[in-house]
């Protein structure tokens, strides 16, 4: 633990154990120097929640409590590190489901105390921004990040490490939430993102002209009207092709996401545009995002599919940067389900 203590030096050799339990993935990872991923273990609870059509907080909390030690142990074995060789322990303290967050925060603080190493609190949204640096350390700042998941739809300007500006966000449902709700309504199952992605391949994205909300109204998003439009259309046309509905719905979401991301990059003069969050795995979004970046001469960053969804490697990476910037977080830290991205 020579790097993280004493003179406070946090460097390329500093090894951070990251822990993530904010929603329905129990994850742990070992990352050296903020970029070198030695291990990343993710245990998804998706099957536990599937029949409810969404994440059930109490079920998630119970599962995190069962999985937290086995997942952490595996991350350490896969990285080949002994417990006392970790230099810091980072955990997501928010935003997320409070009962779920508390399992990871409690375990992480206890590990830090037992090993006598710093504990670092990590903002889940900030960690998604750092997922890009894990795969592309050469990324140039400032960049604009479009963060789209089941819980969030944000456009963030990352000016420097720890320096963010919120450019736009959803006024109602998150994009991933809209995918889940529409998939559920169409009887396509849970999680909705991959289900719609699959079915949409067979459909015509121009079959139905669903609304593109707030298309000319700044950088905020709104998806609840789109969901209602899908429901109304299907009720009015009971024999419509499900594939056409899925494809047209997906096209409406992606059009808005890509248009606003482009507008944001142009507005702030960013040279790079990055995608993050679970919805970043969507095929159409990836395709249109790349096309837009090429047309606008922007450096594009597309995360690998495993880096889109919640994982602990991004927590450890964000933790490394935060430790370097701000030092350890006191052990009386709790969880904040509504934690915001610190902006300026």
């Amino acid at each position: 633990m020579a790097d993280a203590t004493g003179d406070g030096g946090v460097g390329p050799a500093t090894l951070v154990l990251g822990i993530e339990t904010s929603c329905d993935e129990t994850a742990a990872a070992c990352v050296r120097g903020g970029t070198d991923v030695l291990s990343s273990v993710v245990s998804s609870q998706v099957e536990l929640h599937a029949r409810y059509g969404g994440v059930v907080p109490e079920i998630a909390s119970r599962a995190h409590n069962e999985l937290i030690i086995p997942v952490t142990a595996r991350a350490m074995v896969e990285a080949g590190v002994e417990g006392d060789r970790v230099d810091a322990v980072a955990a997501t303290t928010g935003p997320g489901l409070v009962g779920a967050l508390l399992v990871g925060v409690s375990a992480a603080k206890a590990l830090a105390l037992a090993w006598d190493v710093p504990f670092v609190s990590v903002n889940h949204l900030e960690a998604h921004l750092y997922a890009a640096f894990l795969e592309d350390p050469e990324l140039q700042l400032p960049m604009v990040v479009l963060l789209v998941s089941g819980g969030h739809t944000l456009l963030v300007l990352m000016e420097g490490h720890g320096r963010y500006r919120l450019l736009g966000q959803t006024l109602d449902d998150a994009a991933g939430e809209a995918f889940d709700k529409v998939a559920r309504f169409l009887g396509l199952g849970y999680p909705g993102g991959p289900a719609i992605d699959r079915v949409a391949m067979e459909g015509d994205p121009e079959a139905i002209a669903f609304p593109r909300a707030l298309m000319d109204g700044g950088l905020d998003f709104s998806f609840s009207g789109l969901k209602t439009a899908v429901v109304n259309h299907v009720r009015a046309h009971p024999d419509v092709s499900t594939a056409d509905v899925a494809a047209s719905f997906q096209a409406a979401v992606v059009d808005v996401l890509v248009a606003k991301a482009r507008a944001a990059a142009q507005e702030v003069g960013a040279g790079a545009l990055a995608l993050g969050g679970g919805v970043a795995a969507n095929s159409l979004l990836r395709e249109q995002f790349l096309t837009a970046c090429t047309e606008d001469g922007l450096h594009a960053f597309l995360p690998s599919r495993s880096m889109c969804t919640d994982n602990a490697a991004m927590i450890a990476a964000a933790g490394w940067y935060r430790l370097q910037r701000e030092g350890p977080t006191p052990l009386d830290c709790g969880a904040d389900p509504n934690l915001r991205l610190a902006t300026f």
């Binding site: 029949r51 409810y52 059930v56 109490e58 079920i59 909390s61 119970r62 409590n65 069962e66 937290i68 030690i69 086995p70 952490t72 142990a73 417990g83 409070v98 009962g99 508390l102 399992v103 990871g104 925060v105 409690s106 375990a107 992480a108 603080k109 206890a110 590990l111 105390l113 037992a114 090993w115 006598d116 052990l331 009386d332 830290c333 709790g334 969880a335």
Partner: protein
């Protein structure tokens, strides 16, 4: 070998250190319901003030409930992580057993009852045996009236303990043979946890950290609603 005990099944956050010389140090915080914020600093404070290094801890004991879900998970996750990091075994002890421990010298039927919220109690029955008390039957979840009828049905002299009994005092006041133990004994204590765990450690009843889970007694609401819908 020293034992670290962690107890968070009620509104209270407690921890204690002890061994064969008894309890060396303990701390309890009842105000605030800040389990996650308080617990790790409390363990650190306890170690520093009693001059015990965490490397001297040979066993982590934890109150596994029944009790308040979030508090329990904070305690169990913390205890498991400490045991994992320190590479020591664990012992899980029931919250209701912990409540019976301080009144173990009573020859009456001992009943411990913790507040389960939603108008219900977690409770269990105990009888004196040489060297302590023994639980009769399982942990139960029921209304104060359910418990009152059970107490009446025994026809025995009863000592009733716990925050659940205190909260629903009106359900038990009319029962002639039932005595409620006064405040001061409302919540499980970390000292009792260390003492009970010590006795079980002598019998080598150790558990692995990944085998310890809270005793919930109540299924998640979503699961209950689902099976109700299924049955309909």
């Amino acid at each position: 070998m020293l034992i670290l005990g962690i107890e968070t099944s009620t509104m209270q956050v407690g921890c204690a250190i002890g061994g064969h010389e008894g309890v060396l140090a303990s701390t309890h915080i009842t105000r605030g319901k800040r389990h996650a914020e308080n617990l790790t600093p409390a363990v650190r404070f306890l170690c520093e003030q009693s001059q015990v290094g965490l490397d001297e801890i040979g066993l982590v004991a934890v109150d596994v409930g029944p009790g308040l879900f979030t508090g329990l998970r904070v305690g169990v996750a913390t205890a498991k992580a400490l045991a994992f990091a320190l590479r020591v075994p664990m012992i899980g002890v029931s919250s209701l057993d912990l409540m019976a421990f301080p009144v173990r010298f009573s020859s009456r039927l001992i009943v411990t009852a913790l507040d389960a919220r939603r108008g219900e109690l977690y409770y269990a029955f105990y009888r004196q045996v040489p060297g302590g008390v023994q639980r009769i039957g399982d942990h139960q979840l029921g209304s104060p009236d359910d418990l009152a009828s059970e107490l009446l049905a025994t026809g025995e002299e009863v000592l009733l303990v716990g925050d659940g009994a205190q909260r629903y005092v009106e359900a038990f006041e009319g029962l002639a043979k039932v005595e409620l133990v006064e405040p001061g004994n409302r919540s499980p204590s970390a000292e009792a946890l260390v003492e009970l765990a010590h006795a079980r450690a002598l019998r080598e009843e150790f558990e692995r950290p990944d085998a310890i889970e809270p005793v919930y007694l109540r299924r998640p609401d979503a699961e209950i609603n689902w099976s109700t819908r299924d049955g309909a």
